[in-house]
């Protein structure tokens, strides 16, 4: 336990007084980022819950240089800052070791910000893109995103008399990111702080573009009590609905394999957005959701076994 005590002693770089919902995990992830490293960090934050709640004029929760520009451009904004840093370094204007981080949710990453992310990775900027994935456009009121899982009841895929939630599967952002052959990509969950912090540290220590996709259960949007945020993340991993793994040099390494993989139903039970999936008349949906989870999990297992 000494590890956390040592970390706790060092003081925070993300101040309280922010307006995130009680039980929101976004700040848990942000604190993990800022607490695990001594590097100077410059952040570009996409529009979203985190941004509006942490930088509400005249207040800021950030004790690091921070910029919010728009929804879809966290990656290109940080790319510009990182390019300027190279100039400062070359001209001797700074001797600091500064790391650059783009923060965005799934909306700003999988969807509207995908192009900027792809461009910045391809251009090999030295930065970490940290996606805080809460599987919907939570900030505008829980609309579907391409990160929303199959079947999810969102405000633009509402369950009604004829419709039964989101009809498409989740976008596999990790595979898209992987296609850029960046040196480090990982998926993590906020419940496993040690794994999350290790990944953040490794990403920051890696030269070139790195990416981490962190599951952030949203109590408001997903429909569960605020004290369950960490537990909902845990069960996502225990059901393999959210595998935690790394891709290094093109090879998959699964960081956690449940001893006994729980049915995805166990995760669904905890959340209002999947309540309809558990009704007898929607058995087919539940079956399909389980298939999708299994398919992805087995694909990861196969890749890992094959050293791919």
């Amino acid at each position: 336990m000494a590890f956390l005590n040592d970390l706790a002693k060092r003081g925070e770089r993300f101040a309280p007084g922010h307006r995130l919902c009680p039980g929101c995990g976004q700040s848990i992830i942000v604190r993990a980022l800022l607490n695990i490293t001594d590097y100077e960090i410059v952040i570009a934050n996409a529009t979203g819950c985190l941004e509006v709640c942490s930088g509400l004029f005249p207040y800021t929760s950030w004790c690091v240089p921070w910029i919010h520009s728009a929804f879809e451009n966290a990656a290109s904004t940080i790319a510009g800052a990182e390019a300027m840093y190279r100039v400062w370094k070359r001209k001797g204007r700074t001797d600091k070791d500064i790391k650059f981080v783009a923060l965005a949710s799934d909306g700003g990453t999988y969807d509207i910000g995908l192009q900027a992310l792809s461009g910045a990775m391809e251009r090999w900027h030295d930065f970490l893109y940290l996606c805080i994935d809460n599987q919907a456009y939570e900030n505008t009121g829980v609309q579907r995103s391409s990160a929303s899982p199959f079947g999810a009841n969102t405000t633009t895929t509402p369950v009604g008399k004829v419709k039964r939630g989101k009809e498409q599967r989740r976008k596999d952002i990790m595979s898209i990111v992987e296609g850029h052959h960046i040196p480090y990509a990982a998926q993590a969950s906020l419940h496993n702080w040690r794994d999350l912090m290790n990944k953040i540290k490794r990403a920051l220590d890696t030269k070139g573009p790195t990416y981490i996709n962190v599951l952030q259960p949203c109590c408001t949007g997903w429909g569960f009590p605020p004290d369950m945020t960490v537990e909902v993340a845990r069960i996502a991993v225990e059901t393999c609905a959210w595998p935690i793994y790394e891709v290094v040099d093109g090879k998959v390494k699964i960081n956690y394999k449940p001893k006994k993989k729980l049915p995805v139903e166990e995760w669904f039970k905890m959340q209002r957005r999947f309540a309809h999936m558990l009704k007898p008349e929607n058995k087919d949906l539940l079956g399909r959701a389980q298939e999708l989870v299994d398919e992805h999990w087995e694909w990861l297992l196969k890749r890992e076994a094959a050293g791919l």
Binding site: V42, T60, G80
Partner: protein, 397 residues
Amino acid sequence: MGKKVALDGNAAAAHAIRQINPDVIAAFPITPSTQIPMTVSSFIADGLMDTELVTVESEHSAMSACVGAAAAGGRVMTATAAQGLALMWEILYIASSMRLPMVTVIAARALNAPLNIHGDHSDVMGARDAGWIQLFCEDAQEVYDSIIQAIKISENKDVLTPVMVVMDGFNTTHSVEVWEMEEDERVKEFIGEYEPKYPLLDVSRKITYGAWAPPSEYFEHKVNQLTGIIRARPVVKKVGEEFGKVFGRSYDCFELYKLDDAEYAIVMMGSAAGTAKDVVDVLREDGVKAGLLKIRMFRPFPAEEIKEALGNVKVVATLDRVIPAGAYGSPLFNEVRSALYDAPKRPMVIDYIYGLGGRDIQPKHFKEVYENLQRIAKTGKIEKMLDFINIRGKWGK
């Protein structure tokens, strides 16, 4: 001493950028501005400048990276046109609202649809209220000179506002002209060093940029932002004069051509002003009191000075190179007419649109405009408030 060169407007821009040697350029190619990042890339490849060139995947990212780089702290430039400027639109406001100095060279071009890669001012006029200073250029020399001045204007501590330097697509970007290029060292000396006010990279200060402002705060921010562009008015003039002292070519917010005793005046911007001047000369020989007001600085709009300059004219025609669908008048018309409303003699003003999508405007067209102005002065009657120059088919009743 400078040297005479024969190069087009894009090359003039590229050379100005080479001499400025900004810290970061983020750019995406688009006709007719493409030669700017291309030429700059070749300068970098040959070691003639050491700018960090961020070859972004879109203009949206170009402006976003410029914002990131400028906030980080340093000199930033880009170039674009048409759809590219339209795609930047969202972030243009952010650059100016964060009061980030930077210079964007615009090769003004028509907007789709239909697709057209040629010159007009639709793109720039779409961005006229984005909080950027806008300087329109007539030729390659003005492009070169204005880019150098724009750095100084933008970084002025009272201004701290981004600047667009506008040249007409193809008319200027691709026309080879003879112009004077100054020595690298003297340009460098003229622009001086830039000390950013709130650099993100100064990690000891931990600045927050871009917090959101609720209704209780937003309005004050917008008014505060206005101060930069308003203060640019005297600064543009001052920098233009300083430039004249050093390099022998002075600039103001606008150029008055034979306007002192003029009774009929055209007000316009951009490359076609050169043709207009020739027509004024011809008309003057015939004893027609024609004059021209070429506006260089459209934003901030120099209304007071224009009121003064046009106050004694009988009839004014504004020539816009944009079609403002559904508006009562074209942008220049509205600004000029509004400025003249309080003039003691309040000249009549009519609205012309010309040159859309690269359509030619020739001396005979300017002549027709001046003839119409004389007719209006004589009869006191305006038949058409708005007309289009050099289109097929008749407009209006």
